[in-house]
Symmetry: C2
Subunit: 287 residues, 2 copies
């Protein structure tokens, strides 16, 4: 019988997984086992701490539902999600940011110039820009898939029981021949991530708040291009410096400016905006 | 707004936790964030792999119940539990090993020499030894808390619905004036860890089996001494070289020998053993 100790155990565990040599699974598993074991040795983890970690994960599982994925939230507050977004951003393309829990892939298609607000209260803003490739060429026919919270920081999908339509405040736009997209909506407000579960306990233990900076969500797709999932934030708004899930990047902050009565806008709009901002998206080629 | 990138993000996440300087929580959290982020960067984890990991944890949560803690099982098959046992073993003391999922803290007290088998079929074995301190002194009045599977690899607690008593095959013995413990029982057989859940999927993906080498569980306590949780295995038995949860240590393997009809045994026993083994436990002082 080959004896193992706290140093040789790591190799023994890695060898026990007889995954294909050179495979991605082998690399992911072995690197994970190395880090898990290094962590345990470096901290001299006690049995009480060990079971504390495992019971924390158990509690995350218990509070999770198809509508609430506490492990994604945990990933978010540990900067794990943000890091995956960062390392998967292609050079020259718009930086990625959190998908978040409220995406629906079947949002209604809307015409350019449409109004998303549905009469909701809040600052009415014109959102416009161009979708380009990394060489600067406009991308006609690109899909701009967007969803957002309302002027009080709530997603309609969260208030279906109060009679809201989960498809409100979300739409798919298609860029015009010049790669342009434009629509009006209400400016969203900040909101908190759910903090009534184990991740909330972790935030409190770390004296952290649970607020997200106000943002609009986007997925941008175009044929032959690598899709991006990202968020657009607003200059000088609350939590822009300490977003609870580390979603903010300097390059994703838009500057909202008032629309003067005398401004001639370039677009046919179905509602009249009080303010406007421009944000261009850049997609890198696939592969 | 302070911009972050994939390298500066890690510090930003650590700083966001405003835990007490020098505290254990701060150290555990910061070391964890370092390893989690290093892992992500080293592997260049994709979004698909990231959500795969989080959905795996979600599935572990869904299959867990108060009687089945899939996260402990995950910890077991990754050698995390074994490593925590190893680093918490005190010099000179008996090595620690898995607690496992079947411990009950209110097992019945039994007299030395009692028989645990309750008439179950299997090889009847005399289990005996001395509980000592690290200087070699016997420890009278030490508590030997034991539980085990039967001669077919099943714990009675797993078959309560088939009419078994969950307190069967478990007992607390108290060592005599010479630190000795002794009782008879059936030799346990190997069994598999549960493999119908996400951890089973992981084992299959790694071409790993789910068998544990046959073992007896023990928790040994004595006043003023650090309690140990461990397992005793048997020489030349199946899976002794590749226990699914890495519980086997060379120092925890006992040699089972036949009892000859003419052998004079040192103990008053209530059943007649076919075989015997001796295992001495060593406890280190508390603190």
């Amino acid at each position: 019988m080959k004896d193992v100790n706290q140093y040789t155990l790591t190799e023994a565990v890695k060898e026990s997984f007889r995954t294909e040599d050179g495979s991605r699974l082998k690399f992911l598993l072995e690197t994970f086992i190395d880090h898990l074991h290094d962590y345990t040795r470096e901290t001299g983890l006690t049995h009480e701490e060990w079971i504390g970690v495992l019971n924390f994960l158990y509690d995350c599982g218990k509070i999770s539902t198809p509508e609430r994925h506490e492990f994604i939230l945990l990933s978010d507050v540990l900067g794990f999600s943000a890091l995956v977004d960062m390392i998967n951003t292609r050079g020259g393309a718009t930086e990625g940011s959190n998908l978040g829990p409220f995406y629906l892939d079947d949002a209604p298609a809307m015409e350019l110039g449409a109004d998303l607000s549905g009469g909701r209260s809040g600052a009415m803003v014109l959102v416009h820009g161009i979708v380009r490739d990394t060489l600067g060429n406009p991308l006609p026919g690109a899909m701009v898939d967007t969803w957002q919270a309302d002027g009080s920081g709530t997603y309609p999908i969260q208030e279906q029981e109060q009679g809201q339509d989960k498809y409100d405040l979300r739409a798919k736009f298609t860029t015009d021949a010049n790669g342009r997209y434009y629509y009006t909506t209400v400016l969203p407000k900040p909101y908190t991530v759910p903090y009534d579960g184990p991740v909330g306990r972790l935030l409190r233990a770390g004296n952290r708040h649970s607020w997200r900076a106000a943002h609009l969500h986007y997925i941008i797709r175009a044929p032959g291009m690598r899709a991006i999932t990202t968020e657009v934030f607003f200059e000088n708004t609350e939590y822009i410096d300490n977003d609870a899930v580390f979603g903010v990047r300097k390059s994703l902050i838009a500057k909202v400016e008032p629309v003067k009565k005398t401004d001639a806008l370039d677009y046919q709009l179905s509602a009249k905006p009080d303010a406007k901002f421009r944000f261009d998206f850049v997609l890198a080629p696939e592969g």
